[in-house]
Amino acid sequence: MTAAVTLKDLTMRYGDFTALDGVSLALEAGEFVVLLGPSGCGKSTLLAILGGFVTPTSGRVHIGGRDMAGVAPKDRPTTTMFQDYALFPHMTLVDNVAFGLRMRGMGRRARRARAEELLALVGLEGAGRRHPDALSGGQRQRVALARALAVEPQVLLLDEPLGALDLKLRRQMQDELKAIQRRVGTTFVHVTHDQEEAMAIADRIVLMNAGRIEDEGPAREVYLRPRSLFSAAFMGEVNQIPGQGTGAALDTQLGRLPLAASGPMMLCLRPEAIAAGPVHGAPEAPPAIDLGPARLVEATFFGTHHRAHFAPLAAPDLRLVAHLPQGAAPEPGATARLWARAAVLLPHPAPEPTR
């Protein structure tokens, strides 16, 4: 089962604090949406509103075309996979998973059979008679997922479910979540503050900040063409060079760059978009932009690449971070010519990035 979700002008105030500030969003049925943002950005509030645990100050929620105003959590077509899993410690795994079906009046036999199926779906076949406290973190997580899916919700809400797992297990669970979502086809709304996790699983990322939607789109879109400085900085490391547009070009500390712009602008360059070549070598083909010669200050080997700090000769106090290929042999003190292979211009001054 699956359903589309529409949010219209959702606002949530706690006293003077505004947790959500006029959020509107449309989710397609069967979509895997990740609400991403720093803590306090309103993403968990939004999820709690969807689940019916919190009533918004104003605004509307429609799920599958039905207005959710005044509908209690137990009557909503949503279930939540909680951050702390909230498994019932006094019930076996089967009883945990079958709980929602029991509340819906399904007979004992049928619901237990269904629970076993779901446990198998999450890779826990045969473990049904155990108690939650006998499980590892990753296993509890799977049970929580099975329990939430057992009642065939139209929308599954996931509240930072992978937060407590270690990195390796988190990667594995991300892959599994994605696979299970494909299989059951339910709309997933997943909350996290980890942008790598968001990119790993989302059909669409909704980036939030200070109660508003800052950016949204597929991972590739948000990462490569951020709509705000906050978005650019939150999705990954970025070099920021302030400049002044003259119409046909951009004046910066590095000189006049061939980028059409007008007014104060911020030039944003991802480290992997900066390449280093010989100072007097052949120019790279457009759209690559010549950033001029720079001295290598230091470099660290990261396995997949070298992370290098450059000081441009034109602006020795500026530091540019570039990822050089694994095979490169960067020498501190050496000089190289830097090329920007992809660049994003964003209006500046903009709200200060908070991360």
Partner: protein
Amino acid sequence: MSPKAGTRQGWGFVAPALLWTAAFFVAPFALMVWLSLSRLEGRTVVPGPGLDNYIRFFTEPSLLRGLVVSLEITAVVTVVSVALAYPLAAIIAFRVPRRWQRVVLVLAILPFWTSYVVRSYAWLLVLGQGGAVNAALMGLGITEAPLQLSATRFATVTGFVHFFVMLLTLTIYANLVQLSPNYARAAADLGAGRVATFVHVILPLTLPGVVTGAFLTFVLCMGDYITPQILGGNRELTLPQLIMMQLGRRGDFPMASAMAVILMAVVSLAYLACARWLRVERI
């Protein structure tokens, strides 16, 4: 669920307990305060308001003496009980092997499970003229005639200390075991000796628990009637004994109420004195 409906439901849950407390605790208490401001003439209560009972209490030496006796006994009992219980709790927590601690603790509070009345009576047997202590002392030739141990303040204090040592051992032990051993290790690592570790680290960390236990001792000891009544003889009377006398002899509810209010006031003062260390919700 709307917030308003939630609040209404919350009140629904709390209401029965609240009504019970209001009807059988707050109302009686208010009545008592009102009675304490009234007077007894003959056998009828003459409504106040007047401070006659309080003035009488503080001007009649035999009554005021009861408060002093109670305070003296309670002070001694509290100090002695803490002084005896702390080392006992520490030995159980740090010396006794972990798997035996539970058993030792159960043994240490075993007499809890006798009836309170019977416990005082048992001390009467131990301390009486022909009791176990006197028999032992004379048997060993330390004394020739039996000592007057029961029907003294010493007996009252002993009975109280016995009870409160158990109580305090339990609370202090609970405090000690929940301390991470790393505190003591860190102190030792930084050059603190055994005594310094205790004085500067362990004691301050357990102080809130100790103060809470001591306060509880104070409250229970101050208001207890049985132990002094059984063990104390009748040469000096504590405040609760005097309150019971007002009730029994003359049915003087106003005076008894006034004395109860004074007892409450003393306890409240003690509470304020150690409020910053108290964690009543942990009792």
